[in-house]
Subunit: 260 residues, 2 copies
Amino acid sequence: MLLDTIDGFIIDLDGTVYRGATAIEGARETLSYIRSRGKKVVFLTNRGNYSRRMCREKLNAMGIQAAEDEIILTSTVTADYLRNAAPASKCWLLGDEGLREELSAHGIGLATTPEEAEWLVITLHEKLTYAELNSAFRAVRNGARIIATNEDKTFPGDDGESIDVGGLISAIVSTTGQEVSVVIGKPSAYMSNAALRSLDLPPERCLVIGDSLNSDIRLGKQAGIRSALVLSGSTTRAIGEASEIKPDYIWESIADLQHF
Amino acid sequence: MLLDTIDGFIIDLDGTVYRGATAIEGARETLSYIRSRGKKVVFLTNRGNYSRRMCREKLNAMGIQAAEDEIILTSTVTADYLRNAAPASKCWLLGDEGLREELSAHGIGLATTPEEAEWLVITLHEKLTYAELNSAFRAVRNGARIIATNEDKTFPGDDGESIDVGGLISAIVSTTGQEVSVVIGKPSAYMSNAALRSLDLPPERCLVIGDSLNSDIRLGKQAGIRSALVLSGSTTRAIGEASEIKPDYIWESIADLQHF
């Protein structure tokens, strides 16, 4: 039985546990079930525009149990990266409020002007203004290096496919001539290492569940973790079956886990 | 005497006639002088984010005489292009209010939703929001072609060098995979032809005056019009003298014209 071979689950959120503000059918029950079997869970998402607190509240509001230390966002891992690789650096942020909350919670120093920043941290910013884009441009023009929580081009917004961080990155890179120094998001080892460290388990005792071949399934392949592609998000069965990135399982949704 | 060989002047605005809201010293007197000598004048700018009405009012407020039909903006020439090359097309706009005013004045049809647009017109947008960027993205994702008033990466803003249209173009191009179909701005033949048509003079009887080697002087070279580089804007003497694009004259400012 599959479940007997797994001690920890690494579970994507958008398109896997919920879509927009709505839980995917059966997700809540499935998560309760695996917890009742004594399994560990970590939620791993490429979202960098909110904090773990905001994410926990969203899950709890759907009736899904989650502690903050079971949630790993790209904002979380970006903060870890900066604390280790660039301690005492001053950062300028281009992103929604949750990014600031998450970096502050990790003690990352923030610059008071773009000109004094050593790093520009970019994530999705759904309240972007020209003035903010221009400040980010000036930070990089004055020597700040670029770290991006992820580089997705689009994401499924509440009212349709929407422009993601990739667009903001291109705006800054193309006008400053400065390339991105670090991209944190899945499928990177930054993210798989953070998940495995949090679970405190070897990769062969874990399973990645997610809706993105390129983020979730590829992360599993690169880290030696088995993976299940769910069709409740951005990937169709035809694309999943034709892909060169082969998931170990293809499920209609996370609820199929209960059949294994 | 130089002035005897010239019947018409093609004059850049930002960095040549004014910087921000302030006229460059001697610009007003010089323009009065050449008009008193019976010469024709056209102002030719890569700005696409305001209308000819707004531009005339700005010049008049500085005491500089200018009629609307002596002002050619990239928004003006974009409107001409669309009227000729794509009549009855519906456009979606990403840009400051002046772009809408200028296109409407030329009878260009505007789409009511991004999805129905056949063209996305991009210009500088200093009041950009994420929602507007996302609407532009959706227009192109749904098949709209991209026309840009210009593709400058930066411009000298009131409080320092600022991110220009090039950044907005890159955000859309990188996330949709759709290249730009048309760029209207200087040094293109769209702009030199519009200026010469307005002056109704042959190129050899005209002089281009501007502060940009790549926009103004290059336009002169490509159109067979003599050119004067002014050092009152974005170009230093050292750069002007070392450039492979050779202006016929290098002047401290437009006021030097009175010495010739």
